[in-house]
């Protein structure tokens, strides 16, 4: 487009300069492999024909598609690199999260274990206290029962002693005597036996 504006003088200058290396051909007069200007002109014309035809109908679409393909490949590579970078960042993020989660889990586990230990100790302590209380109460009940039993035994024994005394003495004892004998027997039993 811009070359159209170039004055023809300069185009002629350009062509003249271009023909500089063709100078040997201008003076060539044939020979085994030298040729002459005819072959040179033919070569240029055929080349220009090829350039015009192939340039218009072969190279232009191919170069266009090649360029598009290259851009597409470059874009795909860029996308892949970007995605790779994103993946790496995401992986890093998830790894951090995972590390944090693992730390939290470890902390929770430690705390749980600690709480469980405390709870276990409390339960054990409570159970132990309860058992102790139960044992103490049972012991008291047993003592009470034993005392009651002993008391009954002493009383019965004293009664028996009084009756035996009556039998031995062959007389009726007054109530006062009976009470005195029973009382004395009880005191004597208590002195000799376990406390009722």
């Amino acid at each position: 487009m811009l070359l159209r504006h170039m004055p023809s003088t300069f185009l002629r200058c350009a062509v003249a300069t271009a023909l500089l290396p063709v100078a040997p051909a201008l003076g060539a007069e044939g020979g085994p492999n030298v040729g002459d200007i005819g072959q040179a002109v033919a070569a240029i014309l055929i080349f220009l024909l090829l350039l015009a035809v192939l340039g218009r109908w072969a190279w232009k679409p191919i170069v266009h598609q090649l360029h598009s393909r290259e851009e597409s490949i470059a874009r795909a590579i860029n996308d892949a690199q970007r995605r790779d970078q994103e993946s790496q960042e995401l992986l890093k993020l998830y790894r951090n999260r995972l590390d944090r989660a693992e730390a939290e889990v470890a902390e929770i586990l430690a705390s749980g274990r600690k709480e469980a230990a405390v709870a276990r100790d409390q339960i054990l302590q409570a159970a132990s206290d309860e058992a102790r209380k139960s044992a103490s109460a049972a012991r008291q009940e047993i003592d009470q029962a034993r005392r009651d039993a002993l008391r009954d035994l002493y009383e019965t024994t004293a009664e028996l002693a009084a009756e035996m005394a009556e039998t031995v003495l062959r007389r009726n004892l007054s109530d006062d005597d009976r009470r005195r004998i029973v009382g004395e027997s009880l005191q004597e039993l208590r002195k000799r036996g376990p406390e009722a």
Binding site: A25, I37, G55
Partner: protein, 297 residues
């Protein structure tokens, strides 16, 4: 002596299919200069173009982002030229010059390969004008190809210098285009600070200008010499059979198989050289374009 003569004739026979043969009545004289307008070399170039145009157009039509079948070959060539030639030499401007470089590569490759085909024998047996000379083994064809490179350097250099100057100064493009040759040549010279820069500016610019032409001249010589060398080597080898045959048949019996094996190897090497020279020619063209057009002097 007789042996040498026969050997020389054999050598000529070998070279004969490589050399350019003007078609009968196709040579004229213009201002005292002989001009051949049709020859075996030109016919080979036309044959290359006639093969390349439909083949590449067909493959290009089938070419997709993920090519299949024959389009894969085209894909390999295009990607090779882009990645191994255009991009190393031109960087991010590779796509701008890719059509030029692709055309140059396939054309030079086609011309190098057409010389390997035994088309001369076919045309001779059919009694038709000869076809099949290696066009790149003709000096003037190589000169024309180098001229195309130089033309591209100059045209693109002028264009860039024009646009750069117009953008920098705010001049209209047509006015900047008037100064394009001067601006481009000035841009070729390396920057030298101070008074030395003023004194050396013009000689350095001229030296660089000569350098541009010299580089394109070297392109021509390199392609021509490499393409002619393979044929020369083949001719020498075939001469060995004939020379040994002159002494004794038994010698030829021993020498012949080795020479034929070596000739096959050289032919294979020529195939490689054909590709290699197309690559080197295109790569150097791309490099010069990068050096003189796209670089910031």
């Amino acid at each position: 002596m007789v042996g040498m003569t026969v050997a020389s004739e054999t050598s000529n026979l070998i070279f004969d299919h490589v050399q350019d043969h003007p078609w009968p009545g196709c040579t004229v004289e213009v201002l005292g200069v002989k001009v051949t307008w049709m020859s075996s070399g030109i016919a080979s170039m036309l044959l290359v173009a006639a093969v390349l145009i439909p083949t590449l157009l067909l493959l290009a039509r089938r070419w997709r982002a993920t090519p299949r079948g024959g389009a894969n070959v085209l894909d390999v060539i295009v990607v090779f030229v882009r990645d191994m030639i255009a991009r190393p030499a031109l960087g991010d401007k590779a796509y701008r010059y890719l059509p030029l470089l692709l055309t140059m590569f396939v054309f030079v490759l086609g011309m190098n390969l057409v010389g390997i085909l035994p088309l001369g024998i076919v045309t001779e047996s059919l009694h038709v004008p000869p076809v099949g000379a290696t066009p790149t083994a003709i000096l003037t064809v190589c000169a024309a190809l180098a001229g195309v490179t130089l033309l591209a350097i100059v045209a693109m250099g002028f264009r860039k210098a024009t646009l750069h100057f117009a953008h920098k100064t705010g001049w209209p493009v047509w006015a900047a285009a008037l100064l394009a040759p001067l601006l481009w040549v000035k841009g070729l010279a390396p920057k030298v600070p101070g008074a030395a820069g003023v004194v050396l500016g013009v000689p350095l610019a001229l030296l660089e200008l000569v350098g541009v032409a010299a580089k394109c001249f070297s392109l021509m010589i390199r392609l021509f010499a490499n393409m002619i060398a393979g044929h020369a080597l083949l001719a020498v080898m075939m001469m060995l059979i004939v020379m040994s045959l002159q002494k004794a048949v038994v010698n030829a019996f021993y020498v012949g198989p080795f020479v034929i094996a070596a000739s096959v190897a050289v032919d294979l090497m020529e195939l490689m050289v054909a590709g290699l020279q197309a690559y080197i020619f295109t790569f150097l063209s791309a490099m010069f374009l990068g050096l003189y057009v796209e670089s910031e002097h």
